[in-house]
Symmetry: C2
Subunit: 337 residues, 2 copies
C-alpha cells in the first residue's frame, strides 16, 4: 500500500527522490535524460524582450469538472505570459506534495500538465519536488513560473487604456470559479458546469499580430473576476470605465449556481477568458478574430472607457440605473486557483 | 489582533490582496509602482545563453540560527544559477501563506529576501501570493524561480567530470542541516551552529573567469549532502570518484551534533558551499581563488576522479579501509530547505 503513495523520503533529495524523479516525474513532464539533469536548465533565447511570471496553485478540490490543478497551473502561467503579448517558451514546475498523496492521482495531474504544455507550445525545462508531513499541506500545491518572448515592439499592458477604448471579453464569465465552488460544496446541479481552463496564447498571438498598436490591454480575469480586473486596469491607466450589465455573457447554469452560492459572476474567477481594451476602430476586427477562434465563441463588447479619470468603474443596468463596481472584498472565493 | 495576521482574504485577488501587496510585499521586495504591475514582468535580456531554475522552500522551523526561509529561498535559487556558471538576473517569488501567519514574522522574512537579493545582485521582478486556511499549510512556503545569463561559451555541468579531476569543497560541510535540525529538536549545544546560507555567485563568477575550460563541474551539495551530490555527478559523467575521509572539513560542533542526532555530515545539506571538479593542473589556482574569498575560507581537496566507470563513489578512511558511498536513503532530514 505504502508503495502507492508519496512518502516523506521522496522529498529527501536522496535515493527515493531520484527514483520518483526518474520513474514518474521526468517521464511525465519532460524528456531530459539523467545526464542532462543539472541545477538549472541552460537555454538559447530567441531575439526579443522577455516576459517572466510566476503563480502558485492551491485549488481545492484538486480535481474539478473541466480540469485539475495540473492543467490549471500550466494554463494559468501560459496566460500570464500571453497577456503581455509574449509567446510562452519555457516553464518551471515546483511541486509541494503532502505525504500520503496517491501516486495514481499524482500521475494523472502530471499527465494533465504535459498535455496542457504541449497544447500551449511551452516546454517544461526545470523543476523541484518537496514533500511535507501529513497535515502540513493539502495534497498538492504547484508553482509554475514561465518565460516567454515578445516578438514585436508593442506596449501591451494595464496602463495603456485610452478614452474611447472598447472593452471586450472573449466569452462567458464565472465558469471556472463556479465549477470549483460547486464541486467543493457538493452542489447538485442540473447541468454540469465545467471550468474554462485553457491556454489563451493561440488567440492572443492572433490579436497581437492583427490589431498591433490598436490593442492596448490584455488581461485574464482570474481571482477577483472581471470586476476586480477592470478596476485594476482603470486605476493603472487613470481612466473611468462604463460596463453594460445586459451585455455580460453568463451561462444560465452559472447564473443559477451563483444565486444558490451567493456569488456575483462579475467577481468569479475565469481561467480561459481574456479581457481586452482596443481602440474603437479595431473593435469589429477584434470581434472577428475572436469569432473564428474556439477560445472566443461567446465574445462580447461589455463596455468602454468613458474618459480620463480616477479609476472609476460603473455598471449600467438595463433599467438605466448605474452603480459603482469595486474590487472584490473579503474572502468570497478562497482556493479557487 | 486579527489585523496583525494574514487572513484568507489576503489571497483573494481582491481589495485585501491588493492592500497586502501595496503596503507590505511590494515595498519590501521590489520597487515596481502600481502602474507597472502586470501579469508578467517584461525585461531586456543581455546577450548570452540563459539559465532557468526553480525551488520551493518548506523549511521547518522558518527561523533558524544563521537565517530564515526568506534568505534561504533567495540564496538557494541564486546558487542553482551560479552552478551553471550563470550570472543571476531576475527572480520570481511565489508565496503560500497559512492563514494566521503573523505579519511581523512575514515582514521579517520579506526583508531578509530583499537583503539577500541585493547581496546577490538579483532583481525580484514578479511574484504571487496565495493564502490557505489554518492547518492546510505550515506558516509559509516560498517558491523562487530564477533566470540568469551565461556570459561565456563554457560547458559547466554534472556530465563534464573527467578522469584525473580534483574534487574540491569550498568549506565546512553539514552546517545548514545541523543548524536546522538542532533548532527543530530544541537541542542545547555548547556552541551555536549557524546555517551557512549564502549566495555563491561572487565566488563562482571568479572561478569561471579564472579557470575557464579547466572548471568542469560546479554543484552545491544541498539536500542529500556531499555524498548524494557527488554520486549524482559520478553517475552523470560515467566516472568513479574516490574521497578521503580525513580531508572532509567538518566543524567540531557539527560533528558533535551529528553524533547526537544520528547523522553523517556527508549526507547533511549545505546552503553556502560549492563542490567543484577541476582539471588537476587548475587545482592550485582554484584553491587560491577560494582562499581569498570569504565564501571559501575552509576549502579543501577532498578527492579525485579515479577513472571512467559506472558512477562508483568510494570513501577511504585514515586506516586505509575503503567503503562505498551511496545516495541518501530514506527520510533522514525532512524539511531542511
Amino acid at each position: 500500500m505504502s508503495r502507492d503513495v508519496i512518502l516523506l523520503g521522496h522529498g529527501s533529495g536522496g535515493r527515493l527522490a531520484h527514483q520518483l524523479l526518474d520513474e514518474l516525474i521526468i517521464p511525465a513532464l519532460s524528456s531530459v535524460g539523467p545526464a542532462d539533469q543539472n541545477d538549472a536548465a541552460v537555454l538559447d533565447a530567441p531575439p526579443g524582450r522577455l516576459a517572466f511570471t510566476t503563480d502558485s496553485y492551491i485549488v481545492d478540490p484538486v480535481f474539478f469538472p473541466g480540469g485539475n490543478i495540473g492543467d490549471l497551473a500550466v494554463n494559468g502561467t501560459v496566460n500570464d505570459l500571453a497577456m503581455m503579448g509574449a509567446r510562452p517558451l519555457w516553464m518551471s514546475v515546483g511541486l509541494i506534495l503532502e505525504e500520503g498523496l496517491g501516486k495514481h492521482d499524482f500521475s494523472t495531474i502530471l499527465a494533465s500538465m504535459k498535455r496542457a504544455a504541449d497544447v500551449a507550445g511551452v516546454r517544461i525545462v526545470t523543476g523541484d519536488t518537496k514533500v511535507v508531513p501529513r497535515g502540513k499541506a493539502d495534497r498538492i500545491f504547484i508553482n509554475t513560473s514561465g518565460v516567454g518572448v515578445l516578438e514585436h515592439d508593442l506596449q501591451i499592458n494595464g496602463a495603456r487604456a485610452l478614452p474611447g477604448d472598447i472593452v471586450i471579453v472573449s466569452g462567458t464569465i464565472g465558469d471556472h470559479g463556479v465549477a470549483v465552488m460547486a464541486s467543493r460544496e457538493g452542489l447538485e446541479l442540473d447541468a454540469t458546469i465545467e471550468s474554462d481552463t485553457a491556454a489563451l496564447n493561440p488567440l492572443t498571438s492572433e490579436l497581437v499580430a492583427e490589431l498591433a498598436g490598436a490593442l492596448h490591454v490584455l488581461r485574464d480575469p482570474t481571482r477577483g473576476g472581471v470586476a476586480t480586473t477592470l478596476k485594476e486596469i482603470a486605476l493603472q491607466s487613470g481612466v473611468d470605465l462604463r460596463l453594460s450589465e445586459d451585455s455580460l455573457p453568463v451561462k444560465a447554469a452559472v447564473r443559477g449556481a451563483c444565486s444558490i452560492l451567493g456569488l456575483d459572476p462579475l467577481y468569479v474567477a475565469n481561467e480561459g477568458k481574456v479581457l481586452m481594451l482596443v481602440a474603437p476602430e479595431a473593435a469589429a476586427r477584434a470581434l472577428a478574430i475572436l469569432g473564428r477562434s474556439p477560445l472566443g465563441g461567446d465574445a462580447a463588447v461589455i463596455g468602454e472607457v468613458v474618459g480620463k479619470g480616477t479609476g472609476r468603474v460603473s455598471l449600467e443596468a438595463g433599467s438605466g440605473a448605474v452603480r459603482n463596481v469595486e474590487m472584490l472584498s473579503g474572502e468570497q472565493l478562497p482556493r479557487i486557483c
